[in-house]
Symmetry: C2
Subunit: 405 residues, 2 copies
């Protein structure tokens, strides 16, 4: 019997207990012995829950109990989640987490501590909810140099964008509905402004390139400024507007950003609708592979937490090796405007302005819209080069969207 502890009995924490209960037999078969939830740490009591008698309020009971071999951290937020994680690792316990805030902010240190103590720190559930992506990147794709990763990493914003597209609804109306349905939080900032996606792309970039960038320094644009004009432009260009987290290596430096993008119908990301997530990986031998599924939600996320737990429990004497990350410094990072892609510039003005823009970019694909604006498809070049050419026209851009080919 392997003893484990759960930190945080919220949505994901109680989901993990449910997965462990529902699939008890098959999980025990994988591990070679049964798993037992010995403690559940939470501020609250859960008198009516079947596991209510496991609830404790003092983390030291867990840290000081040598029987507890694995700790599942599903508290959310940086503190005390980070502090408890570090203490558990230092106490020689492996830790599994769904907490992207902690991984993206403290991953370098926590992975180092885990390594020093000969235990694991696993975080499959921190990106893409239940979708297998962290472990495939470390195993199935280990024979490849990763060139780029792009994805829909936030279900809330994808739900909103999908509704806006399908129903022609306004951002604020759909947000309210999403809040009513529980798809968006009362304070939706972290989702809507791309902060959650920035944390996730920083984790994926670290897995791909070994350097963890502070997510607060990642160029991040959310979806609160998206209007029907964006959707109209996207449609005319055979695309959809999606909030994309992207990372790639440019001349040896890491370039990561979060931004609404136009995604052409030919890209599998274009077909990821509703609360689902989808992640496209470009690797030097495999080419493009794509991972799709439930990017959030109680049981899908808990399913990934428990999968990590099984990997540890299967091999307690020699838990899975974790990656070694370094903190990304200024010199490791490329400027966001070095990103080379096609772009669509939406510009107020009439045919004469359009001709000016067309001359500047040498582009022939221009579409005109109600409301007196046009959109021009700019050939692939860096954001800097595009901005310089556009500046010379003297025109004013309504908005600019990268095209994710």
């Amino acid at each position: 019997m392997i003893q484990i502890a759960i930190l945080g009995f919220g949505v994901v924490g109680s989901g993990a207990a449910e997965v462990l209960t529902e699939n008890k037999a098959l999980i025990a078969a994988h591990c070679g012995e049964e798993l037992n939830i010995k403690y559940i740490l939470d501020l609250r009591e859960f008198p009516d829950h079947p596991l209510g008698d496991r609830v404790i309020h003092d983390v030291n009971l867990i840290l000081n109990d040598p029987e507890v071999r694995v700790v599942l951290e599903m508290m959310g937020g940086s503190h005390p989640a980070y502090d408890f994680t570090k203490a558990a690792l230092l106490a020689g316990k492996s830790v599994v987490t769904s907490n992207k805030e902690v991984v993206s902010n403290f991953g370098v240190e926590l992975l180092k501590v885990a390594k020093e103590k000969g235990v694991s720190y696993l975080f499959e559930a921190s990106v893409g909810g239940g979708i297998p992506i962290i472990r495939p990147l470390q195993t199935d794709l280990s024979s490849n140099e990763i060139l780029a990763i792009s994805g829909i990493l936030n279900g809330t914003t994808n739900y909103i964008l999908t509704k806006m597209k399908n129903e022609g609804a306004a951002f604020s109306d759909v947000l309210k509905e999403a809040q009513r349905l529980g798809y968006a939080e009362a304070d939706p900032t972290a989702d809507v402004e791309g902060i959650d996606a920035a944390r996730k792309i920083s984790i994926l970039a670290a897995l791909a390139f070994g350097k963890l960038q502070d997510p607060k320094t990642i160029s991040t644009v959310g979806i609160s400024g998206i209007t029907k004009d964006y959707t109209a432009v996207a449609e005319r260009f055979g695309s959809v507007v999606k909030l994309i987290g992207h990372t790639e290596k440019v001349e040896g430096k890491v370039l990561s950003f979060v931004s609404p993008c136009l995604v052409p119908d030919s890209n599998p990301i274009a077909h990821v609708d509703g609360v689902f997530n989808g992640i496209l990986v470009d690797a030097n031998m495999l080419g493009r592979s794509f991972f799709y599924g439930a990017g959030a939600g109680k049981l899908p996320t808990a399913s990934a937490v428990v999968a990590d737990l099984i990997q540890i429990a299967k091999s307690l004497q020699k838990p899975p090796k974790c990656p070694t990350w370094e903190t990304a410094s200024e010199k490791d990072l490329a400027a966001t405007d070095a990103f080379v892609c096609r772009r669509v510039y939406a510009v107020e003005g009439c045919h004469k302005c359009a001709e000016k823009a067309s001359a500047a970019f040498g582009s022939e694909r221009i579409e005109f819209f109600d409301g007196g604006f046009f959109a021009i498809l700019v050939p692939s070049m860096s954001g800097k080069a595009a901005a310089e050419r556009f500046a010379k026209t003297g025109l004013a851009a309504k908005f600019v969207l990268p095209v994710l080919d």
Copy 2:
């Protein structure tokens, strides 16, 4: 330095050598030491290849060399691939393969031998080419009971079906073109008649349910009978025709088949075009997840072979545990016509016949086509129940396609 041997220096075998050469440094970093191709077994000589001096013709040199720790079998076909694999495992060497024919026919025995000898037999490349699917099923999805797996498992047939749809071309014309382009073999039977897909679904079913079914006993329909009428029907029902391998558990029994299906636009499989593969997994906690990428090809397939190799080389003293399979017997298997789904019956006849069909199925969705036939969308029920109801109408079905929702 870890010594390895390659069996078969064809497309995938030479691809594996290329992956090992191109990504040498990063692969060594993963393994903790360098890998060296000591032997390449092939009937031919390769005097102009940089590794031409490793080529040998006697497998015993490999089997009797204790330095060789891992053997990569990429010969194709059952014999001597199976015999050499078994001999290598018995000699205490781990084996990695891309050979779905061997895995689907001899997997039970070879996994048993590997277990007894304390080595690994890994086969990520045998299904979906380079797409991570075998390892995710065993690790990331290990916290789940697998309910069903459906997928496009053969790139050649998907290329043909995509061309037929996009260009309105006939099967035989597209096949000829695919052969000219090297997407289809001179003898295309194994691809076109679904035999290749049957081998792959038998492997996926064994991973999901622990029972390996002889692929020759899997109900298998290929695409050589697909005409423009099929494409026309699909389009009218908002679907595409795809060759699907499917497995699921029905009342404790395994039900697997390969068949052309109608795949509605809402299913991510519908958007898998050309030579790509896409596999949809339905699991009891995670729900649906989807894996997409290059299902064949030299470097993608080799990328998966080398990824397996890395997993073994990382941990030579304790190579990855392999699953235990049993041979599926009659009592483990459900009849194919127990498969419950919606279906489209295409029937020669006019409005009067259509009314008869509609009355039999209680269905209101009927479409009429040029050439004097109609298609009726039959509500979800078993194939057996649908066939019984249809028989009572006295009508003759032109074709029947399951709908993969």
